[in-house]
Amino acid sequence: MKTIPIIVDCDPGIDDTIALLTAFVSPELDILGITPVCGNQPLGRTVLNALQVCELGGRPDIPVYPGCFRPMLREPIHGQFHGKTGLGNTTLPDPVKTAEEMSAVDFLIEALSLASAKGEPVTLCCLGPMTNLAVALRIKPQIADGIGRVVMMGGAYREPGNRTMTSEFNVLADPHAAHVVFSSGIPIVALALDATHQVMLKPEHVTAFSRVGGRISHALGELMAFWDRNDVARYGSRGGPLHDPLVIAYILAPHLFGTTRARIFVEYESELCMGQTIADWYGKSGLEPNAEIVTRVDAQGVIDFFLDRLSRYAEKVPA
């Protein structure tokens, strides 16, 4: 089977963890590396969490390259819904595995240059602030040729923001990096709050995941239970939006998603609207579209997709 080479750029994070655990048991994907960045938690913690999640998922073979310790310009901000460690109340064993010596930026430059030379472009899964990719692109713009597309979770177009009135966390945390990526000419699939708020991980789903997850059931149940925003007024139900995992679902099951092509922009100057993402839905900018914005999601189909994938931990020999 021809596999899809991917790099997971992330800031784990509870929803990053669910995305990683799903990717680990998807044989269609060849995970070249994980590049944690400063985001939901400070860098030291996102690196540690990535290592722990690799071991939880039985994939210590995947290299973890530590990324940038701060955003390009702005002071770091961190997530509000991931608990003290970034993994809610879940305590995972100290990892045996260690991070690579090579930095995420150097890894991206090396892996993507190689991908470009071989003519085998990599799919970049961006689940956090996009500092690593932006810095790599500024150092060596030619690596864009080694990227087939960027499938990113971030932004909010018709939906209001989740960290400020206008802005979603990942883009707000490094709007300058988002600007570098959006203006790079690389094809982008944007999974913004417009999409992720369509898929609520409700308490009844959590029960179902806890039943199927085999040897990771306990951790998975704990992580997912912690994710409940308990904010029916905003989300229309209990539960939490399944942000980052949608990136993996989109790559593996695109039929569950509907998209609209548009040019996307990010505000990085105004303090009031810092990090706001704007879509040129009706061609007002005179610029070509640079993104597929996911506008429709088959929510039940996505939940079923994850139930199917994560049930594989029940079948697999424990690590």
Binding site: C68, F69, M72, L73, V135, I139, K140, Y268
Partner: protein, 322 residues
Amino acid sequence: MSVHRIIIDTDPGLDDAAAILMALASPEIEVLGLSVVAGNVPLQDALINACKIVGLSGRTDVPVHGGAAGPLVRDRVLGKYAGIGAFDDRLVPAGQIRPAEENAVRFIVRLAREAARTGDPVTICAIGPMTNIALALVQHPDVARGIGRIVLMGGAFAAMGHRTPWAEFNVYADPHAADVVLRSGVPIVMMPLDVTFKTLFTREHFEAFRRGGAAGQALSNLFTTFDRSDTARFGRPGGPIHDATTIAWLLRPDLFKGEDVHVGVELMGVTMGHTYADFHNKLGRQSNATVITDVDQAGFTKLLIERIGRHGGARSQPMPEA
């Protein structure tokens, strides 16, 4: 003698050439390498020029690393003299130096982190847009810890601008990078236009450069060919050699006067790239730079000419051990 271990972050550029050759002739300075950035001219031309300049010195132990081809966030702008491009072989002969494999940002990260480990800091002389340095600073906290000081040519206060009415070129070309550097916590010495405009060089000085062997002759060719005098602005003949002030400060800080103040940069709108210095402490913020306000003009001129002259007898000059 304690030797300054420096990286020259540069976009050559005429006055970059003077600064680099001044450093390479000075035993008080160990040039660890050049990190090249797009600025005065596009990156590829800047890289060719940097290699040619090192070649002129006869040195083969100074690596030249190519860096960022454009600024962090804004659209690319080139220098007023970008048309110069790669130096013509008739002005500056081609040499044997070729760019190193490692990119400039990685070079800075590696040396700075090593310096943070050993406690033997590196100095960066930043004489172009500061994109490479900013890209290095965001990658690891040890990068800032390993850089003892950044001596930068950039900014303008009472002197106003020279690229726009309000902005000096190096800051204007990448204001976001300047902002990262100014807020990095690394001690900064800043040479604004206010001070570089004070020392003007004329044809007699360029003639004097010729005593400096192949290097001095090439430098003389460049400055004679591309006349940068602006009598209307400066009120007298001659043009500045901005970047060489950074090297001069390392060699002879006694030639300069400065003030520790808070400096910031404007990142948007018509005044993008404008720098401000809080000389009268109106903001009550901690100083982040020593802004140089005055220079001993005769002393600086003499020092530059004397150092370039050393290339004439370069082989007999003691060079610091690597």
